[in-house]
């Protein structure tokens, strides 16, 4: 009878990465290397205004003086930033997609294979999608319907041309160009991403979603997402990510900025399934991402939900700056590492305004030789009267060669603050498994059920359709992980 460690690893090996195929499409990829010329070239291709080129160059010059952060609990060989190509677009892509009918059928096929049909009639009702393929956005659906509500949802490169005043006002206002090493790199070379603007009082009529795909070899993806929710508006946004299965590591360094004004609410969900590398740790995406939300307005709310199952290395701390009085920040996370995956992820909640509240729920699952770290900061400034935080981080271990770590930082400078942090670490209990099996449920299904139960508090925060997807993704990732 099973449930010996060797069986676990045997079963884990069977896991397949179904998004690992490559699209045979001709691409226009600039030679590897980074310099001011490359940045000027990217900016020129995108027909950017002078101020944006300046923004990029300032970031680049700052980046040259910066060092990669060393504090994260991850290890990787040095990255050669001159070996990466900073721009790649399908050849068929001319001046950006006009309508879905003009999108290269090969691309449509790619997304269909990934389960994201781009024909509006085939899509999930109520979800608008922007798809980013390597360095460019290739399609955005339901633009018309959204425009009727006054919602802007388009590639950020298009927003720079069509809504320069908005982009200029908010770009870099949450994550400054020199914020950290990877954010500076992104600010210098970002190529595309989504822009969302929800006008005052509007409740976005549908879920917005961006689907990121890295296809080309030796490229990095540096997307930039900016979401602005005006007074009293509401939006729910979801991103998904996949990449082909390759032996080399590829870099993904994105920046996401959210701005919520008075009474606005932004819900940002991520299902990250970048290629994780194989069982020996070959290949996989380095996912070094800066995500930050600014609750600028009173009673505003920003909620991050993430399900992280992919990437060789994840370095990511979606954060909230709770500036507005009575604003609310939330972070719900499920992160899974197996094989040789490493994840150092968590959040920062910076309480600035009065009566600000934050909730952190983090569930880490570690299997194989995966290393999983929760790193969180809750900071209460002197001005933040009556701040409240509740943090819960639980780790589940499957097998005796993985690791689970918790690094919570709590910094409080206001005597009316109340903070609570709880953390537990456990393995799937053998009696739980036996109990399920004694009811006729097979081992794999039992593990998947128990893990899903462990993650329930986070999954319930995802939009319904994606919660189901997330559950399945987790089940696939854990196929056979019996402890």
């Amino acid at each position: 009878m099973a449930s010996q460690p060797q069986d676990i690893h045997e079963l884990m090996r069977r896991r397949e990465y179904s998004a690992g195929f490559v699209t045979a499409i001709e691409s226009d990829t600039v030679p590897p290397g980074l310099s001011e010329d490359v940045i000027r070239m990217i900016s020129a291709r995108k027909q950017e205004p002078e101020w944006l080129l300046e923004f990029r160059l300032k970031a680049y010059r700052r980046w040259l003086r910066m060092e990669e952060p060393k504090w994260a609990h991850v290890h990787h060989p040095p990255i050669d930033y001159q070996a990466i190509s900073y721009y790649s677009q399908p050849k068929s892509f001319k001046d950006g997609p006009k309508s879905l009918d003009e999108v290269d059928p090969k691309l449509l096929e790619t997304y269909k294979k990934l389960g994201i049909p781009l024909k509006e009639q085939e899509m999930l009702a109520g979800v608008a999608v922007d798809v980013v393929f390597d360095s460019v956005s290739v399609a955005t659906t339901f633009k018309k319907k959204l425009a009727e509500a006054g919602v802007i949802f388009c590639p950020i490169s298009e927003a720079v041309r069509e809504h320069p005043e908005l982009v200029r006002k908010y770009l870099g206002s949450v994550v400054p160009f020199g914020d950290n090493f990877y954010a500076a790199l992104n600010s210098a070379v970002f190529t595309d991403g989504s822009f969302v603007y929800i006008p005052k009082g509007v409740r976005c009529p549908m879920e917005l979603s961006t689907y990121f795909r890295i296809n080309e070899r030796n490229t990095g993806q540096f997307e930039r997402t900016l979401i602005v929710a005006e007074e009293g508006s509401q939006v729910s946004y979801l991103e998904g990510c996949t990449a082909p299965q390759r032996d080399e590591n590829q870099l993904h360094a994105a920046v996401v900025e959210l701005v919520a004004l008075d009474d606005a609410q932004i819900k940002y969900s991520t299902v990250q399934n970048w290629y994780p590398g194989d069982e020996q740790g070959r290949g996989g995406i380095y996912n070094f991402v800066t995500k930050r939300g600014d609750c600028r307005g009173k009673r505003s709310k920003i909620s991050w939900t993430q399900v992280e199952t992919g990437s060789a290395i994840t370095w990511k701390y979606p954060s909230c700056i709770l500036r507005g009085d009575d604003s609310v920040g939330e972070f719900y996370s499920v992160a899974l590492t197996h094989h040789r995956q490493q994840a150092d992820t968590g959040t920062k909640m910076i309480h600035v305004g009065r009566n600000t509240r934050s909730t952190i729920v983090s569930k880490g699952i570690s299997a194989g030789e995966g290393q999983q770290s929760y790193r969180g900061l809750v900071r209460v400034l002197e001005s933040a009267d009556n701040a409240r935080n509740y943090t819960q981080c639980d780790s589940l271990l499957i097998g005796d060669r993985c690791g689970a770590h918790t690094f919570p930082y709590t910094e409080v400078r206001n005597p009316s603050a109340r903070l609570e942090h709880e953390a537990t670490t456990s393995k799937i209990a053998e009696d739980q498994l036996y109990y399920c099996r004694a009811r006729g449920i097979g081992e794999e299904e039992a593990v998947s059920m128990i893990v899903n139960g462990f993650c329930k508090e986070v999954f319930k925060e995802l939009p319904m359709e994606f919660a189901v997807e997330a559950g399945k993704l987790l089940a696939v990732s854990l196929e056979g992980a019996v402890g």
């Binding site: 504090w71 609990h73 209460v380 002197e382 780790s395 271990l397 499957i398 097998g399 005796d400 060669r401 993985c402 690791g403 689970a404 770590h405 918790t406 690094f407 919570p408 930082y409 709590t410 910094e411 409080v412 400078r413 206001n414 005597p415 009316s416 603050a417 109340r418 903070l419 609570e420 942090h421 709880e422 953390a423 537990t424 670490t425 456990s426 393995k427 402890g483």
Partner: protein, 405 residues
């Protein structure tokens, strides 16, 4: 950096040393000069910046006087150090004193290794039991200015021994700097009760580190109290090296106004079936800054580890600050590990309730603070020490039954 001042002081100090010790100590000083004082760039010193010390010059302390009699605990033996030197007249167990041999260390403790000469040496042979608790009083000399003292202490308990040791750091003033290293080895079945009481003056800098290595089935019960001022950093490192070892760390910190207090604990579970319990409580008021960083590491193979860590803080003043970081690093799967941290205030409803029963607000507050602190005080089985602590911590109104273990 003007660490040259330290190098210059060292040369003068070294001139008086036996020839044989000089090279080893000089190597330590050079190591210190190379590393410098730690700055917040080092993760372990994130909240405590010692860089300003490099701008200051300290003279090695040379003994002196201090009125310590009120601190003598009844029923204990005693070693008294003032200004870094043993005060024989006040010490009832001078045989426990020893000149420290040169040691190797790093960072700021390389400075300690370069200078440290005197300290406690407690060695118990197999099965021996220290008949009375040993109080080690370490105080600054009256009128000392910008003095520095560096000491190293060693406790070695052989198999199945038992000892109680109380380290008390107090009254260091005059802008002095003191560093202490306490090296503890517990052989199989040894049991050590280790108390640390820190009560320094506002302009003192005190850096202490205690390293404990625990072998099979040994037990450490360590309780620490911080109620002084100044800049204080204490590192408590526990290595559970063999199966069945058990460690309990408890602490109460109530830093004085303007104090900067940084408590670091690190428990490494390196063997299976070890147990660790940790509970620290902080009462932080009046421009005090308190840091608690507790780390638990479970190494690969340390299965059946049972570890729990709790830190609770009361933040009572708008100028006060609390930084807490309870960390877990786990490389084994069959473990039970939990930690919790809270920052908050006195329970308003409890205050209201007490007031509704006629207890005046100030007294009600005192009662609740006492209740909060008593949980840690309960870990001090030594009656005279418990009474002294209760008095010092402002829990003097505590009824006798609350202090009875």
């Amino acid at each position: 950096m003007s660490l040259a001042a330290y190098a210059e002081r060292f040369e003068r100090f070294a001139a008086a040393l036996p020839e044989a010790e000089r090279a080893a100590r000089r190597a330590q000083l050079q190591r210190f000069v190379a590393d410098g004082f730690p700055t917040p760039r080092l993760e372990e010193w994130h909240y405590t910046d010692l860089a300003p010390l490099s701008q200051r010059a300290f003279e090695p302390a040379a003994g002196g006087n201090a009125a310590l009699a009120p601190h003598f605990l009844a029923g204990t033996d005693r070693l008294v150090y003032v200004g870094g030197m043993l005060v024989s007249a006040d010490s009832t167990a001078p045989e426990r004193h020893s000149a420290a041999a040169p040691a190797q260390d790093e960072g700021v403790y390389a400075l300690n290794a370069a200078f440290a000469r005197d300290g406690l040496l407690l060695r118990l042979g197999r099965g021996e039991r220290l008949p009375r608790p040993l109080q080690v009083l370490i105080a600054g000399a009256d009128g000392a200015v910008a003095a520095m003292t560096h000491q190293r202490h060693r406790i070695e308990l052989a198999e199945n021994t038992e000892a109680t040791v109380i380290f008390q750091f107090l009254n260091q003033g005059g802008g002095g700097l003191a560093t202490h290293v306490i090296d503890v080895r517990l052989a199989p079945g040894a049991r050590l009760n280790l108390f640390r009481i820190q009560d320094e003056r506002a302009d003192a800098t005190l850096l202490t580190r205690c390293d404990v290595r625990q072998e099979r089935d040994s037990v450490l019960h360590a309780v620490s109290f911080d109620c002084g001022g100044g800049l204080v950093r204490h590192d408590l490192n526990i290595l559970l090296a063999e199966a069945g070892a058990e460690t309990g760390l408890y602490g109460l910190y109530q830093p004085a106004a303007g104090a900067h207090l940084d408590n670091h604990t690190r428990i490494v579970h390196a063997a299976p079936q070890c147990r660790s319990r940790e509970q620290f409580k902080g009462i932080v008021d009046a421009r005090a800054r308190a840091i608690f960083n507790g780390k638990v590491v479970v190494q690969a193979g340390a299965q059946k580890t049972d570890s729990e860590q709790r830190v609770a803080n009361l933040l009572l003043s708008p100028k006060a600050e609390v930084n807490a970081k309870p960390e877990l690093e786990i490389y084994a799967d069959d473990v039970k590990c939990a930690h919790g941290a809270t920052v908050g205030q006195l329970d308003e409803t409890a205050l209201e309730y007490l007031r509704s029963r006629g207890v005046p607000p100030a007294e009600a507050r005192a009662l609740l603070l006492r209740a909060f602190a008593t949980e840690v005080l309960d870990h001090v089985p030594l009656a005279p020490l418990r009474a002294a602590l209760a008095a010092r911590l402002g829990l003097a109104g505590t009824d006798a039954w609350e202090l009875e273990a």
